[in-house]
Symmetry: C2
Subunit: 492 residues, 2 copies
């Protein structure tokens, strides 16, 4: 098959879009800004979901489901102090479609079927969930309340890109309530570490754990924790957030509890989420000009086996060996596909599975049959080697493990090469212009400096790293004293 | 705990609503007609999803995700021949919420942010999916296309009931495309059997497999297959449908393929779905005046262990034994909860787990410690027995298996006792009035007779059973000849 992928070095953005489509991950739909997640892309998302869901449950969370719609008045409760609030969101105003009386071939919205109160398609579920928690929480015995939801949400984005920014996307949102600030903060931090664990050990994408500046904080949070990752083009991508909400939502929705001591207090909240945006991070971090590169831990197909044969008899001989191997690898929890299609040639199959990022390809031909061997190709480095067929049941699992580590280390190295300490604004701008990446610089802590840098360079403070070392310095712009460097970058 | 459940015999409908709420399954939300599925209810739904999803994948299907919204024009393509079409559905007309300039404490929909074309929140996804398939299918090599979606859908129902009929509900919808009518029919029938397998062997709810009359068919289908179940109050509930769509959607959305023979033809389609409505069927089929009765195969907690102790020391002794037992049962794939809360008394715990339908309760007290025994109570029959503690690791798995079969058989017997053959309309009406249930009667095949019976008795033809025996008879009303009896019932 002809891949026809643009090169990353020529047009990274076009390369990404074409890769997402050609690898069968997602495509645009008939609805502006909404994507179709295709079976192969959805299979990766399902693997992500399964791992994350197990992690959430292992940390004591339960799933539930809350309504898609939020009555306008609930937003008013949440936003009562917001001046000049405007939210791009999908608004339901009517509830009936009917034949147009003036044009029988057309449908129209029945003007008589107008809702008394408009409904907003959830852009996030704090409002609907906290209005529900009011009834679920009476006493300290009801706490902590540890609930997660897997759902679709809608934000009316004007400029969209597959996975990275779409009007509708899929995500999970955890919403928890606690008796004390300390417990809520511990929960917020715990979930940040869960996300970091997942993103690094399954997606093989390195993260910086940190907190957001007040400017970049989630509205309604006292503290926003985040993990930030670096893509191959030197732009950062936020790969997860976890918010300590203080008592803000409890106060907005009047969620009080009887304390152990006999008092009455507002509960302390958190919320945390990751979305199908992670698919974008996964694709952009590892893939190359030949197509997708998937870390073995999230690949729907980890091993593909392609027979190279002349005639039915040879195919039968190969199939017998392959089916045995497949069974043995599957017994070790490895997903294997035997691509024995007779409609396509081996070269076409090689290119297709390369494009789809299958970590390991095994090819077996007539000579391999004679020699008891097989050709093993790894997708990440494109290295090929000849292996004893009988050794494959131990060789392949070890190879997959090595590849998982190797893919992570490559990304880690890329990040190290694209993380630069700078001490002057000139240097700052030059690094952003030339190599991009994370720029570690001193900042005086003022929103004004942050804002000015953003306006002038489009770089934002991605986070103040949790493990940032104390270092005396001065802000690049204001010259005011600073105690720590922060992470700047242009971001998705 | 005080359950305060109404009796089924006094008010079945109220009993159902109260049970759903008190057992922690679901509740009404701030949005009219939309429910909140609470953690315990959602845990059951997750188990259902997992089993069904495995079955879909075992039969070759892949999951994907399509947009929540359907542009109005796509409905027009689908409904172009429908006269006087009216659909109760949620319509998105605007895309921005903002501070009301006339009342700063309020929000309003920005009148300037009106969509060019209204978007319908999907009531089902045929339109959006078939408009996508047009691009996915070119040749016979692309067929069959076997795709499923797990999603939320919205139908603007006026009278709603938790799980049974809600404006928003969760479901899965399979949408497949095939090269021939035969293959599409085989797929339609296969999925009906998958549903029947699931509903009978996991939900322990007996089904009648059949086809719908043209009146009750899904609009756009050439044939609708269904499974029908009987609730304890004698009303039927449709527990799944599978539609053979012929080439209707392919024609509406112009989905053609190059045949093997070099021609060009429209593809043949199917769609099939089950929803959170199944939760209603599960609850109503088995539960009793004490609360929920769950078949072991779908119970989130299969075994609960309650310690009955005096003092910390005795609790420690019991805990040691219980933790060992728990580990051994879990190793056999059984989910166990050790309810060692010190805030509640055993009697409260017994009542709570009874209400929540946990299949098996084990109680261990001081005398049990001495005797090496435990008290085992099964939820379905309420039988209690004393068992040797050391035998529990074999006794419990066998008991759960027996209970699964027993719960199914009880429902089967109820159905047998509430399935009545009648030959006259007088008898038909009398049976419906007195005992309800399925009524097997002859029908002349005309929509007119069907319609008249529905108007006069509120009973509908649930299905023409696939295994209906040939039997010469005459229609109760028209006296015209009939070859088979069909299933009538009042239905949810």
């Amino acid at each position: 098959m002809s891949k026809g992928l643009p090169k990353r070095s020529e047009d990274y953005s076009l390369w990404y879009n074409e890769l997402v489509k050609k690898a069968g991950l997602a495509e645009n739909s008939a609805v502006r800004g909404c994507m179709v997640i295709k079976p192969y892309g959805y299979a990766i998302w399902e693997k992500m979901q399964r791992v994350l869901d197990d992690m959430f449950k292992a940390t004591g969370h339960e799933n539930a489901y809350f309504p898609l719609f939020v009555p306008k008045s609930l937003f008013e409760a949440e936003e009562q102090n917001a001046e000049g609030f405007a939210k791009e969101c999908a608004v339901v105003t009517h509830y009936r479609l009917q034949t147009d009386p003036d044009n029988k071939g057309k449908l129209r919205v029945d003007p008589a079927a107008r809702l008394e109160e408009e409904l907003i398609v959830r852009p996030t579920s704090e409002a609907i969930i906290w209005s529900t928690y009011k009834n679920w929480i009476q006493s300290y015995r009801d706490l902590p309340l540890l609930v997660n939801q897997w759902a679709n949400v809608v934000r009316w984005e004007m400029r969209t890109r597959l996975f990275l920014r779409t009007a509708e996307f899929l995500w999970q949102e955890g919403h928890t309530a606690h008796a004390t600030a300390e417990e809520a903060i511990a929960e917020t931090e715990q979930m940040l570490h869960v996300y970091a664990d997942f993103v690094e050990n399954y997606m093989a994408v390195p993260v910086v754990k940190g907190i957001k500046t007040p400017n970049e904080r989630f509205a309604g949070a006292l503290e926003t924790y985040c993990i930030e990752s670096l893509m191959q083009d030197g732009k950062a991508l936020q790969t997860g957030t976890s918010h300590f909400l203080g008592q803000n939502f409890a106060k907005a929705f009047d969620v009080k509890f009887a304390t152990k001591e006999g008092g009455l207090d507002y509960v302390w909240g958190t919320s945390w989420g990751v979305s199908t945006r992670l698919m974008g991070a996964l694709i952009m971090t590892h893939s190359d000009d030949e197509g997708l590169v998937l870390p073995p831990n999230l690949a729907p197909i980890q091993v593909v086996i392609v027979p190279i044969y002349k005639g039915e008899e040879q195919l039968a001989q190969i199939s017998e060996k392959v089916n045995q191997l497949k069974k043995e690898l599957q017994a070790k929890g490895i997903s294997v596909k035997f691509d024995n299609r007779d409609t396509e040639r081996p070269g076409f199959k090689f290119a297709e599975w390369e494009l789809k990022g299958v970590p390991v390809r095994i090819a077996i031909g007539g000579r391999d049959l004679e020699n008891g061997t097989a050709e093993v190709a790894r997708r990440d480095t494109k290295e090929k080697s000849t292996q004893q067929f009988d050794s494959l049941t131990t060789y392949i699992p070890a190879l997959l493990e090595e590849m998982q580590a190797s893919i992570f280390n490559k990304a880690l190295q890329h990040r190290a090469e694209h993380t630069t300490k700078v001490d002057s604004y000139e240097e700052f701008k030059q690094v952003l212009e030339t190599k991009g990446g994370f720029v570690l610089a001193h900042w005086d802590g003022s929103p004004e400096t942050e804002e000015r840098i953003k306006e002038e360079t489009k770089a934002t403070i991605r986070c103040i790293a949790l493990d940032a070392e104390d270092e005396d310095g001065v802000d690049m712009l204001s010259g005011k004293p600073s105690k720590k460097r922060v992470y700047f970058a242009k971001a998705y």
